[in-house]
């Protein structure tokens, strides 16, 4: 019987197969990493909730209007986009320690004693009428504030005026690019403040906080109370 030798499998076409795969991946994939600015829109309110009459003060509202020519009107003054960042930063930080600028929102000191009184006040309101949603909301927020105070080394913090709101108004022709620039500036200033608090109080990197981690979630919640981000967008007029 003739001795047959097993033929080796030729590996010569291996390179071609690999090339084919390579080209397939080159075509179907993209290098771009998806990034973006996250925002939560205000919830749609079906029926107006009874609330205490709010007195809106001019100083609490930062009005940013962008027109179809991509010009900015900040607090009724024509402003180049380069100056917006300093204005927003001033808006957040001018009065944080002491009252320095009466055109910017006021800060009030929040300490556990103040929290306790407010909790008691809203507690009675809720027990009187269990359907008082607004009071329940207040109660929850004051409880969170109390918890925050107790976790701070100084036991107190400065809170920006409750009515401090940044109001964005666009026109139909305002470019999305400008809108994103504005959003980016708002985010940048808020992030700056949160980074500062996060390192000062918890000695942690704000951007390294893990949303899945319970402990870090608490810190994020507290940072949101310390540096709130309240943006209202006006509807585009028809």
């Amino acid at each position: 019987m003739a001795k047959r030798e097993l033929e080796e499998i030729s590996a010569g076409s291996m390179a071609d197969i690999a090339f084919l795969l390579l080209i397939f991946f080159l075509v179907t994939t993209t290098v771009e990493v998806d990034a973006g600015i996250g925002r939560t829109l205000p919830l749609k309110i079906d029926q107006p909730v009874d609330q205490e009459p709010i007195d809106i003060r001019e100083r609490d509202i930062l009005e940013i209007k962008a027109n179809s020519q991509d010009q900015l009107l900040v607090e009724k003054k024509l402003t180049p986009i380069e100056d917006l960042e300093d204005i927003v930063r001033d808006y957040y930080t001018a009065n944080i320690e002491t009252e320095t600028n009466i055109d910017m929102p006021a800060y009030t000191k929040i300490d556990p004693v103040r929290c306790q009184t407010e909790i008691l006040k809203y507690q009675t309101l809720v027990t009187e009428n269990e359907e008082n949603v607004a009071a329940q909301k207040e109660l929850d927020s004051w409880r969170a504030k109390l918890e925050l105070c107790q976790s701070l080394p100084t036991q107190q913090y400065s809170e920006i005026s409750k009515m401090a709101i940044i109001r964005l108004e666009n026109q139909a022709g305002t470019s999305y690019g400008l809108y994103i620039q504005i959003q980016n500036i708002l985010k940048k200033v808020v992030n700056e403040q949160r980074v500062k608090y996060c390192t000062e109080i918890w000695d942690k990197d704000y951007f390294a906080l893990d949303k899945q981690n319970v402990e870090d979630q608490e810190i994020i919640k507290k940072l949101r109370i310390l540096v709130p981000e309240r943006i209202i967008e006006a509807k585009i007029e028809r």
Partner: protein
């Protein structure tokens, strides 16, 4: 002496026939595989073919989207197909939507049982020259169904 010399010459003569040896290609598949793996790791799958042209704005504060599978994409830009006009259009999945109101059935259709529209963020990929009217309309419609988590897609560089 002579014999010896001849012997040596003979040895040199052996090299007379030498040509350029062929390049050893046995490592080629390995190199190609290395490239292949590099591309597989460094890139992501295209989630959709674009029917609209999108030149994203840049924003230094943009953060990478963590879970791309759990996010819906709305594309707004200028149609690539000239027959579709020059006005900004909305692309949902692989079709151009007739108007901003189409995001409601589209978003609700993607909601898996046990979840709400609220739970799934929506990423808006918008060309930077598009006017705010259409973007604002899309956002208003998303608000109608409580899909209020929005991500404004932007390139993360200064």
């Amino acid at each position: 002496m002579r014999l010896k010399l001849k012997d040596k010459m003979g040895r040199f003569n052996k090299g007379k026939k030498r040509g350029v040896p062929g390049v050893n290609t046995s490592a080629l598949p390995d190199i190609i595989f290395m490239l292949l793996f590099f591309f597989m790791v460094a890139t992501t799958m295209k989630e959709q073919d674009y029917l609209v042209e999108i030149d994203k704005p840049t924003a230094s504060q943009a953060l990478p989207i963590e879970d791309k599978d759990k996010i819906d994409f709305v594309y707004i830009g200028f149609p690539i197909d000239a027959n579709q006009g020059t006005e900004p259009r909305i692309q949902l999945n692989d079709q151009l939507a007739p108007g901003p109101a189409s995001v409601i059935p589209w978003k609700l259709g993607a909601v898996r049982p046990g979840m709400r529209a609220f739970d799934i963020p929506t990423s808006l990929k918008v060309h930077k020259d598009v006017g705010m009217r259409v973007v604002s309309d899309v956002k208003e419609n998303l608000r109608e169904i409580d899909a209020i988590k929005i991500n404004y897609s932007a390139d993360a560089r200064d």
